[in-house]
Symmetry: C2
Amino acid sequence: MNLYDDDRFFSSYIALRNEANYNDLMETPAMLSLLGAVKGKRIIDLGCGFGSTACVLADMGASYVLGIDISEKMIKKAKAEHQRGSVEYRVMDMVDVSDIEERFDIAYSSLAFHYIEDLGRLLQGIRGILAEGGMLIFSQEHPISTADYEGGFSPDGSSYTFSSYQKEGKRVSRWFVDGVTTYHRTFGTIANTLIQNGYSIDAVLEPKPSDTAMKILPRLIREYEKPSFLIIKSYKK
Amino acid sequence: MNLYDDDRFFSSYIALRNEANYNDLMETPAMLSLLGAVKGKRIIDLGCGFGSTACVLADMGASYVLGIDISEKMIKKAKAEHQRGSVEYRVMDMVDVSDIEERFDIAYSSLAFHYIEDLGRLLQGIRGILAEGGMLIFSQEHPISTADYEGGFSPDGSSYTFSSYQKEGKRVSRWFVDGVTTYHRTFGTIANTLIQNGYSIDAVLEPKPSDTAMKILPRLIREYEKPSFLIIKSYKK
């Protein structure tokens, strides 16, 4: 069973997303700022969760949005709460995207790639369903964050301690539940895996919180010491 | 007066470079591994120091190497100790490269860009002296390192503490002498400044020490916790 179908994880995660959270206050606005206009575009949302962004993309004018997620619970919630005429949802592991017959102008993925063990295989699969010159835009946990789950902020949030940056691979940590598995890759590995799989790197964004976001969620000020997220915008070459 | 012409700094730096050091054991091999063949190429070495790499490039078959450095002392030492028929040295601030009339196939710069305040202006200048499709390859202190000179390794070297990653700009620290000025830029800013000034990003390397290098200089093992250097290979688009 995948993490997001664990009952305890799922309810904790939904509760988190119902409060002021990093996704809605910082990550999604940063992604949308890099994405640009989507009017008339066909978009796949890889790891779409409960579909909030898929609907935003549809409302921004995308002609078709296919949201896929490995979690049955997430897709069930998406279908129940985030329906649009131009949005479709499927339960699917994103490493199997090459099974999809449709082709897309944009592949969009929010905070999911760090769950994937084989980034090269994933990027090849995505490349196969992108139209010529199609865009891949994704966010993931920042490599400084994925390096070491033993580390973290000082109690007052003024500094961050980490280790093991060059020791890539599996990390098992606790996030609501024990045994949450992610994969640490250095910035260099992420960039080179894109390049070697036929993508150009067109923008890199380590998002900062807006003043408004920090008023709503004051601990976002810590993002000035150490970024939580890395966003890359690429095109199929 | 620039840092490298300060008598105390200069003699301390030369003493460091005469011992087993990070440059010779890790940074230069990593740069040369990305650089590839240089036979018949015209190369500018930006911030060439005392010319050791300029000579390596000449010995690898470069048809012409122009080494420039802001430090008169460094260029004097380069001319005295690192002469080759195909190598020329000039005292020059790299931000003024657009004054150079020659054109180059490769611009090479080792551990100097973090001294430069205006990276965009520098990159534009370099672009102007690169031939069509020319390569820019540079190393600099890693953004995790330049973020915060108050931070550093734990006493046993097993973790690294930093802050202020998103607070870009001037840093003044002590390295042999007080008042050493460098400029912190995030990974995103470095990448985007390249892209916005007409370069593609073709490889990113955060070098790791070899086993041999760690035998010679055991504290290089700390590089596995936190990288010291960032290397980017780019082409003029």
